[in-house]
Structure formats: C-alpha cells, structure tokens
Symmetry: C2
Subunit: 334 residues, 2 copies
C-alpha cells in the first residue's frame, strides 16, 4: 500500500459511483440502506479516510476556524481547549497556528488565511487595528482578550479596567494607599491593564506608580527588586507569571508577603491556584470567552450577521493568600 485509498477505490470495490460513496460517508440523504452498509464496510476494510484538502476544495463551506495563539501561554492553552470543545460541539474544525521566534504574528496569521479558514480567532494579538481590519476584509475576525478600535472586527474581552479596579478596590479597602503596578510591556493587553490602573488610581485620588516589567517571571523578579525598600505596600502585576516573579523577589529579599507587601496577579492561571503560591488574582472566565468567541464567528458565518459584536465579560477578583491589611493600619493582634 503505497498510496492511500481514494474515494474511487472504495467505489470500485463496492461497484457503485464515487458520488454514492461520498454521500454515504458524509451521511447525506439519498443512498439506500443496502448501499450504505456495503459502502461503510468497504471503506472500513480499506481504511479509507477522506483527503481533507480535497474535500475543502470541493466543498463551498469549510467549517474551519483558525486560532492564533502563543503556545507558551498557559492562558491561551486554556482558551484553546475551550474553543476546541465548543467548535467540536457545533461541527467546526479548528486549525491552530502559534507564534514562535521564527513565526511572527503576521506570519502565523497568514498561515491561517492560507488554510482558508472561514473565520479566525486571535488570542491577545498585538497587531494594530488597521492591520486587523485588513484581515477582516477577507474573513471574519474575532479578537479575544483585548480591545480593538475598529468596526470591522468582533471583540470578546474581559473588562480589564474593571478587573484592575476590583484589585485596587480590594487593596484600598485593606488600607493600602501606595499601590504600585508592574507593567506588562508594550503589548495591547498590557496597555489596557496599565491604563485601567492609572484611571482607577486617579479616581481613588491616589498617585499611580508604574514599574517597568513584562509578562514573564523574570520581569516580575526585576520589578520586585525595584520595589524592595520603596514606599509601596501593595502591588498589582499585569499578569500571574509576573506576580509569581514578584513573590519570588520578595521572598529572597525577606519582604513578608502579605505581611509587609500585598500582591495581586491577573489571569487566575493554574499557577495562581497552587497552594504554594496562593495568589490573589483576577479570573477571566476562559470558558465563557471561548464560547462567546466561537459564537461570534459562527453567527457571522451561519447567520450572516454583519453588525459588529463586542462582548465584555466582567472579571472576578479571586481573593487568596497574598493580600492582607496595610501594615500601618493593622495592629490586629495588639
């Protein structure tokens, strides 16, 4: 067996046309029960599997969603899993494309377009609104996780400002005033969170303090060092990985968390849930985001929706062990 069996081979074996075989294998109405049985038997014997490239080409509809992700992000992994499940449920296939050091966002996206996905879901993309619009002209685009100022793309995102504000509110209610924010870098998601922090601080009449950082543990560690000995008694990190870096730096510097310093993360990744870490953080409900994202794509495709959709999900503050009352205002066990 050097060649895989083709539709024609199955047809020949049963003694019917390829059309009949095609109909049977896709469960389309038409073929009689007898034909159906014989075709199925023959297909099984030959180990026949349809060539997806050929079916895609012949079919008008492709029922295929492209997902752009960063395979190294645990948060994306969570989203992908949920997207996959949801797509499965409604009969769509999912094509994954990840960015790597040799595969820029643009490149990975092109790869998805070459597959002629009917729609693409972009997880936390950094592309500009105009770049996204260009893509949206070809295929429905759903951006997950960040805001996009464009009428052309659908957006499903957590209300980052609300999430950050909730984190801040929690800290403020604990008596903290000097609350720093560790930045997540130049990315779109990071930018929104930083802005949310600035706004919420201003509203509370507090002075914002943004420390440079990024969305990795390393960034958190560097920021943590910068914070040691500062006036800040609490800090919000742009994401959980960064927060873990902070915890690390504080641990090494002998800064007691949450005794002397409260820390809040963002994402509620599995990391945060570890008892070891037990991080107070903000949960973004990945399953709900996945469902909405898939629904947005599919409603464009199957229901010919044309108006823009923006789903903003309320994040939920998850209070764990890294936050406590302000050291000055405490004296609890006097």
């Amino acid at each position: 067996m050097d060649q895989r069996p083709r539709l024609e081979d199955v047809a020949a074996r049963v003694g019917v046309s390829t059309a009949s075989v095609s109909l049977v294998l896709r469960g389309a109405p038409g073929p009689s029960e007898q034909t159906r049985q014989r075709v199925l038997a023959a297909a099984a014997e030959l180990g026949y599997r349809a060539d997806r490239a050929a079916s895609l080409l012949a079919r008008r509809r492709r029922h295929q969603l492209g997902v752009l992700l960063d395979v190294r992000s645990p948060y994306h992994a969570e989203l992908v899993e949920e997207i996959q499940v949801e797509a499965d449920r409604i009969g769509y296939e999912v094509v994954l494309s990840t960015l790597t050091r040799s595969h820029s966002e643009e490149r990975a996206l092109e790869s998805l377009l070459d597959f002629r996905c009917e729609a693409v879901l972009l997880l936390g993309p950094d592309s500009s609104a105009s770049a996204l619009e260009k893509v949206a002209a070809q295929v429905p685009v759903v951006v997950v996780g960040r805001q996009v100022d464009s009428a052309a793309v659908d957006v499903v995102r957590p209300a980052d400002d609300v999430g950050v504000a909730a984190a801040l509110g929690h800290l403020i209610s604990l008596g903290h005033r000097d609350i720093a924010f560790v930045d997540g870098g130049k990315g779109a998601v990071a930018t929104t969170r930083r802005r949310g922090y600035r706004t919420a601080m201003r509203r509370a009449g507090l002075a914002p303090r943004v420390i440079a950082g990024d969305h990795t543990e390393e960034g958190g560690i560097r920021a943590g060092r910068a914070l040691v000995g500062s006036a800040s008694t609490a800090v919000v990190a742009s994401n959980d990985r960064c927060a873990v870096g902070l915890l690390d730096a504080f641990l090494r510097a002998g800064v007691d968390v949450p005794g002397a310093m409260s820390v809040v993360g963002y994402d509620d990744s599995t990391l945060a849930r570890l008892a070891h870490i037990d991080l107070t953080t903000v949960n973004q409900d990945a399953p709900a985001q996945a469902r909405h994202a898939v629904a947005a794509a599919v409603s464009r495709l199957d229901e010919r929706r044309t108006d823009r959709v923006e789903v903003v999900l309320e994040p939920r503050l998850v209070i764990r062990g890294t936050t406590a009352r302000h050291p000055g205002s405490t004296r609890v066990r006097a």
Copy 2:
C-alpha cells in the same frame, strides 16, 4: 470583494496564463524578469494568497508535518516552538493538533492524517505500539519522548533511565538512602521513569518506594502529604509540575527543603528555573529533540530512508537549590 482573488484573477490582470503566475509566485525557473515583476506587482495589488488546500491537492508533495501535542504542557510548548523553527528552516509547514477533553489522542491524530501530513511527530503519545504501527503504515511516524517497541516508528527520546539514575546518583552521593519516587500515572512516559527509578534503586541496593501521583501540581501535593513524616529524606518526582506540588506540600507541612527533604524534578521546565522554586531537575534538551525529530521525518521523506531510527539523548542533571546532604550525615556547621 466577496471572493478572494484566485490565480486566474492575477493572470487576467497581467494578461498572462495562470501557469506563468503559478511559476512566478513559487519562484520556479522559467518566467522572464519582466513577467515576474508584473505578476508580483499584480499579486500584491490584489492581495493574492494561494489557497493552500488547492495547492496541496495539486502538488504531489505537501511539505507538511503534523504535530500531536497537549497544548497544556509547557514541555510540549517548548518542543513545538523548536519544531516549528526547524521546519521553517527547511521549508516545511507544521500543522498542530492538540488533545483536549473532547479530542482524544486518537481523534487528534486522525485530524492530522486528514490533513495528509507527510509525516507526523507525536509528542509523548500514550497510544499502544500496535496503534502506532497502524498509523505508521500510512505515514512516517516519529514518536518524541518515549520508547516504542516497534520497528515501524522512529523514536527520539531522552534516556529517561539515565536521567532518573543521575538524579538518584546525585541524591545517593549526598548521603540519602530512603529515596522515594512520585509516580506520574499510567502514561507511557511516566511508566519509563518509574521503571528507571526501580532499576536504579535496585542497582544501588536500596529499597524503592513509589508514591502514587500524576504529572500535575495536585498530584504532587497529595504525594507530598503522604511523604510527610515518612522515613524518606529525598524524593524524585516524575516531572517538574509534580515536584512543584511536592515543594508546596512540604512548605505547608513545615518540612524544610532541602534541609530535611531533598526534591528532584524532571523536565527542567521554565518553572524549575524560577528562583522562587530553584528546583534541581533533569534537562532533556528540547531543541535537540526537536531537531532530531524533524530530521528523522524529513530523512524518510526526502532521502527515502526506510530503516528505523532511534535517537536517545542523554539528559543532564541540573543541580539547583532543592537538594542537599542527608540530614543525618550532615553536621556540616557543627
């Protein structure tokens, strides 16, 4: 623009045949410089992108490698990144398929076959040797990360027994005798490591002690609880995530690591490198594995290799902060 431009549209615009356009766009020899320029210009103007399904179908070769992974595994993420880079370099595309709760390994693999990947790389698959052989009858299969008793599939794997033995050797040289192992569950990779542990312990004349567990932090935490108060003074975990769970359990139980208990992980994931965790662990050189795996696939395809290849890479023990001398044999600062 309701339809994307086709080859024919570009051809019409330039006033040449589709054949010429195809040749130009793929950089094939033939077309004159002038034609080339005009075609490229027209293609750019129209924003033309080839339909991959159509090209794949028309082309004999597909230059496409399928990768089966678990998107939630950080170790797989690392491998995928390297595979992607390597494939890029030699002009292959990569199709990703992940297992999720709705997408079993079998299902994800089928998906890859439907894409008519020329070869598939399976990251730590749990399928039986016979199931793998069935797949290998259709397409070259490279299993990454575990042993497979079959002449039909290529294997690229770390010498897990050597890695576990190295971990054990390190602990033994530190004076430990009661060294437990936290199991990784029923998976193939976990099985190999468990066996490696048993063998190495026997060789050293020590009594093995295997604690139930799995490859998650939760599993580590449970195992850690079971170990508290036991005779063991050191423990090797089946992977890093599990080791992190152990650390967590010990921390909460007030067991000093590495003072009273040494811990060794497996994978050298980014997790382990965190200063916070600073886990002694075993590095498996993901880039090298990725390179070998891609090379194995490609040599079957491009060089018509037919004999089996098994690459066994020596893992490297990375000593960090979670291991120390046996508490009894210490008295260092007497």
